[in-house]
């Protein structure tokens, strides 16, 4: 019964979305306040209906309702409760439901927090948002309905892919979707503004909270995905340049560019047309990502639910929305006149350089991702494009970006002098060179990437410190430090995020150039050296989990005779899903991780064992979290709240 209600709510949400897409737009054209006012309540109703529908599907998973096809294919009575809940979105249909839930949530926030928006702009934004929802709800109802029943329910389910039965992956998709879908708000704002034919400073400010929120969710989602790959896939890789990873990375790059160019619109009323284009492209890349993941056109490690029909549906949505928006852009971009004038050397130019590097690097990722398809179609040539290409083609842009970033961040608006802007960086440059030389001396004979990466990382972190100190104005160091705490949160957010990029670069470089690896056969009782540590295989035993069995090795790690700890790498077999996973044992540390993997028994006795020292591994994800936290700080700066200004009026209303 509850499942049927959920199904019904989904259909109702589709109807509401249709109304939301059509009526407010007509109202905005005719200047009819009644029709325009439909938008807000419709967006809230749509959100509540989809939330109910999502709740109903969750209920079906939690109560093991095996009359639902989706539950049968993705669940099992013995599966732990956390993964029964996570199983709701661990498949194509359910993840699409989560997608539209996030979409309708963002629409509702535009109503809840958008009190300051002009009525017409708000009506148009919500109308565009409604149109996107119509497309996805239709795709769900007609090609991927999660609520289909089975005539003959089986006694139990097929279980979920065990690689997905992991806390990291349980929460990785929701963050990613909140990010992808959040970019639809920037898209809706851009299309609404293009229809209106005007973009001003206020537009830059209004679009900022949603873009920032989407960006920070994407940042967290990508960071979690990378961390999951590191500990779950069994060899400590953290990024594979897989098409699906690229699918999330491309919107992130464009969203980062958009975040920065929207600042120029807000502060200086320039780069308007370019910002519109970025807003359209950011959501376009989200849709391309969805297409890549769901169509199976490009093979990937974790493409799921590949189905030509669904792929075509996403492609059609992509063509209609992005094609339509780009046409609108071509017609209207000429009307968006720039107001702010700036010199060649200025913060505006710095942000243009940022945008150029980010969009070009996104283009490189894009062309690399689709190249196998292009080569196949044009020359009937089967080509692979893997990590070695991306590392070689993408890295130069990030290196350039990291070099110019700290200086660009402190350049004054309108007109700047490069010499004067560079002066405060003397100390930071000295520290950078010293760190690079130190890294070179400590690791001489190994890859040249190490010292370069260290230099970039230190340059970014030190540059962020210079940025903050510059914001504190003149005077002695003491009085400037005292002023640090009174800086606006947006300044702290910017410095934290920029420093986070440096920390991530350091983690990547340390992991790729200084990791220690050891592969050997070890018999119980034997020990071997791993860097400064000694590792002993104490014994191997079997264990039973809720829906798997595991072979667990007990490893004793010592350093100079003193025990550091015991670690338990394992191999799990999931009988219902018919799959096996390796569970690496990781001993995390701020200076580096010890990473042990145990393999199969060998013919001559003993087990294959892979051991790694991963120096500064955790810094990679720490940097990602710092970037996201910078976003949170910036988002919480009250100057950027949409409702800023409306709040005071609200408190004047007497309590009842």
């Amino acid at each position: 019964m509850i499942v049927e209600l959920g199904h019904f709510a989904l259909i109702l949400a589709f109807v509401v979305a249709c109304l939301q897409a059509v009526l407010p737009m007509i109202g905005a054209q005719r200047n009819d306040p009644v029709l325009m006012a439909v938008a807000g309540p419709a967006s809230v109703a749509q959100f509540l209906l989809i939330a109910f529908s999502f709740g109903a599907l969750t209920y079906a998973f939690v109560t093991d309702d095996f009359s639902l096809r989706l539950v049968v294919e993705n669940s099992h009575t013995l599966k732990p409760m956390l993964y029964k809940v996570a199983g709701v979105w661990g498949n194509h249909e359910g993840s699409l439901l989560l997608w539209v839930l996030a979409l309708s949530f963002y629409g509702a926030t535009a109503h809840w927090f958008g009190g300051q928006l002009p009525a017409r702009l708000k009506a148009r934004v919500l109308s565009v948002q409604g149109a996107v929802a119509v497309a996805f709800l239709a795709m769900m109802l007609w090609t991927s309905n999660p609520f289909l029943r089975l005539a003959f329910p089986p006694m139990n389910g097929h279980d979920m892919n065990p690689l997905l039965q992991d806390p990291g992956l349980a929460f990785h998709p929701p963050f990613l979707y909140l990010g992808y879908v959040g970019l639809s708000m920037a898209f809706a704002f851009a299309v609404a503004a293009l229809i209106e034919g005007r973009v001003d400073a206020a537009w830059g400010r209004w679009v900022r909270p949603w873009t920032l929120a989407a960006w920070l969710f994407l940042t967290i989602g990508i960071t979690m995905g990378s961390l999951w790959a590191y500990y779950e896939l069994g060899w400590g890789g953290f990024w594979f340049w897989d098409p699906v990873e690229n699918a999330s990375f491309m919107p992130w790059l464009i969203a980062t560019a958009l975040l920065h160019s929207a600042i120029v619109v807000e502060k200086r009323e320039a780069l308007k047309a370019w910002t519109m284009l970025l807003a359209i492209l950011a959501f376009g890349f989200s849709l391309i990502g969805t297409f890549i993941v769901r169509s199976g056109v490009i093979t990937s490690v974790h493409a799921f639910a590949s189905d030509p029909l669904r792929g075509m549906a996403v492609l059609a949505i992509l063509a209609v929305f992005v094609g339509g928006a780009l046409t609108l852009f071509a017609l209207r971009a000429g009307q968006l006149e720039a107001k702010g004038v700036f010199a060649m050397v200025s913060r505006e130019t710095g942000l243009v350089v940022n945008n150029l590097l980010l969009t070009v690097s996104c283009f490189v990722v894009f062309i690399g991702t689709i190249w196998p398809l292009v080569a196949e179609i044009l020359w009937n040539r089967a080509v692979s494009v893997g990590a070695p290409f991306f590392n070689a083609a993408f890295m130069p842009f990030i290196i350039l970006l990291a070099i110019v970033l700290p200086v660009g961040a402190v350049l004054p608006w309108k007109r700047a002098e490069l010499g004067r802007a560079l002066r405060p960086f003397a100390g930071a440059l000295a520290v950078t060179v010293a760190a690079a030389l130190l890294a070179y001396a400590l690791t001489s004979g190994r890859s040249a990437l190490g010292p370069l990466g260290v230099a970039l990382a230190v340059w970014l972190v030190a540059g962020s410190a210079v940025d903050l100190l510059q914001r504190c104005g003149r005077g002695g160091l003491g009085s400037r430090l005292a002023r640090l705490t009174r800086l606006p949160r947006a300044d702290w957010g910017r410095a934290t995020a920029h420093a986070g990029l440096g920390v991530t670069i350091f983690g990547v470089v340390a992991l790729t150039s200084w990791a220690v690896e050891d592969i050997r056969v070890v018999k119980p009782g034997q020990s071997y050296d791993l860097g400064a540590y000694s590792v002993e295989l104490v014994g191997v035993h079997d264990e039973a989990g809720p829906n798997y069995t595991a072979r667990v090795a007990e490893m004793r790690v010592t350093k100079g005779g003193a025990e550091v700890g015991r670690m338990f790498p394992a191999k799990r077999t999931y009988p219902f899903a018919g799959m096996a996973t390796t569970e690496a044992a990781i001993r995390p540390g701020i200076l580096g991780d010890i990473y042990l993997v145990v393999g199969d028994p060998q013919d001559g006795g003993g087990y294959a064992v892979r051991s790694y020292l991963k120096p500064f591994a955790d810094w990679l994800w720490l940097g990602g979290l710092m970037m996201a936290f910078g976003g949170v700080l910036s988002l919480s700066d009250r100057r950027y709240r949409v409702a800023a200004g409306a709040r005071r009026a609200l408190t004047a209303v007497p309590a009842e």
Binding site: N74, S306, F342, L356, F397, M579, T581, G645
Partner: protein
């Protein structure tokens, strides 16, 4: 979903949990290091976007052994890779060659950067020379004032 499970189970169940197995490794550490470096650039053909160095599949194992045999036989890096490409096609290369149409792929990034930089430079030059546009219209001014009123 069933098909996906099948594909994944093929990948995971095909071999033991470890990619490079101890019994494959060459006794000479220098040769083994060369083999590792080369195998990171070779694709496991039955896997999805994994190198033979990372993959557990049986075919990846066979390719690793084949590569090491060539190195033991005295091949240079280039000869060993060419040997495998001759048998499995250029699909096996994770880093595409620069031959023919692939040149477009390799030059796309630098070309886009140059084109973008030229366009941006031209636009900025025009902008820098333009006179300061008129300020906000009175109604915009009023809205801006209302928005900024709450600022510290």
């Amino acid at each position: 979903m069933r098909r996906l499970a099948l594909v994944l189970s093929l990948i995971v169940m095909a071999g033991p949990a470890l990619a490079v197995r101890p019994d494959e490794m060459l006794p000479d550490p220098a040769e083994e290091a060369r083999a590792r470096a080369l195998s990171q650039g070779l694709r496991c053909l039955v896997c999805r976007n994994e190198s033979i160095d990372d993959s557990d599949a049986d075919l990846a194992h066979d390719l690793r052994v084949l590569l090491r045999d060539r190195i033991k036989a005295g091949d240079t890096d280039q000869q060993a890779v060419d040997y495998i490409v001759a048998r499995y096609g250029e699909f096996v290369l994770l880093k595409p060659t620069t031959s023919g149409g692939n040149l477009i792929l390799w030059l796309a990034g630098p070309a886009a950067l140059l084109a973008g930089a030229a366009l941006a430079f031209a636009a900025l030059r025009r902008r820098a020379g333009a006179p300061e546009a008129a300020g906000l219209s009175p109604e915009d001014q009023a809205r801006l004032a209302a928005l900024l009123k709450d600022q510290p």
